[in-house]
Amino acid sequence: MADICKNDIVITSEALNEAENIGLVFERVPKGYGVILVDDGSTDNTASIGRVYPFVKVISHAVNLGQGVAFVTGLKAAIDLGYRYMIHMDSDGQHKPEDIPRFEEALRAGGGDIVVGSRILGQMNKTTFLRRSFLPVLARIINGITKYEMSDPMCGFRGYDLDVIRMNLGMFANYHNPQYNAVEMFIRASRRGIRVKEIPVSVDERSSGSSYKGELRYGWNVMVSIIKTYLEGVDK
């Protein structure tokens, strides 16, 4: 991977039984970027498909632990391998790999230790009414707590400056609910003075298959995570 990819930036992604989508996503990754794929206990051939691509490194969880934990595994691997920047994207085809260079640009320009993609500033294709209504409310709540000015904190398409993150790895430990880690991460990040910057992204519908997150359950669990993390009080 080192021979064909940039040596200071890496893309991480987690996948659970995404054999149908993963190849389509990797085909669209711009040249020069390496990918760390965390296979979160898939029972299909997600990992094997990942290994077909020379720019992809696969880490496999023996059992399914959820997206939040798999994200941290990818993050730890990126730090271990000495990368300076990490861009995280979903493996289900919703995030457009063509946006990756814009994340890189934003990270290298500075001004944000975490660069968050915003579907509100960009485009959100074919989303549900419930989700479209819920996101701005959630953004207001999180912004109220963190004092950030994010329009779409739940977007998983993000870039990280690992020089800053490696000094603050504690904020990724002991999630109350790893599946809904974004809110916990932002609340903890704000307490550590980590800077956040937003860039517009466009998000598509899944290429195929269905998401594991039910809308109402998702909303409820996010709210519970916000309350729990807010009540932590002290910085973890």
């Binding site: 880490i59 496999s60 969880h61 271990d80």
Partner: protein
């Protein structure tokens, strides 16, 4: 003494002995040991001296024994559930950490082998 009290006393004694034996074998934690010993010893004492229960009922101003048992049973189940939730969360975090570590170590080994082969 009524037969039921003798039976209860014997059961409590048997369970207390078993709990003690398991603690010596380190099959249960010290916290679990104290929790269950409290239950069995209470059962034993109230079986051997049933009048004590009448005194206790007067103290907590309850008139019917069944209510007392029902209430204390529910409270005890709540306590057990709470302790179980704590230990579940602890185990879940440990499991996450272990699976992550194994995955990352395996990944490192693969990287090293790849470098060797190259």
């Amino acid at each position: 003494m009524k037969a039921i009290f003798i039976l209860l006393a014997l059961a409590a004694f048997f369970m207390a002995s078993l709990t003690f034996y398991w603690a010596r074998q380190r099959k249960i934690t010290i916290r679990t040991f104290f929790l269950w010993m409290f239950v069995w010893l209470s059962m034993l004492i109230f079986s051997l001296f049933p009048d004590l229960l009448t005194v206790l009922l007067k103290v907590v101003r309850m008139e019917i024994r069944a209510y007392f048992f029902f209430l204390s049973g529910i409270l005890f189940l709540f306590l057990l559930q709470f302790l179980r939730a704590l230990s579940d969360k602890r185990n879940e975090r440990a499991l996450h950490a272990l699976v992550q570590e194994v995955a990352l170590l395996k990944f490192k080994i693969e990287q090293l082998e790849e470098q060797k082969n190259a």
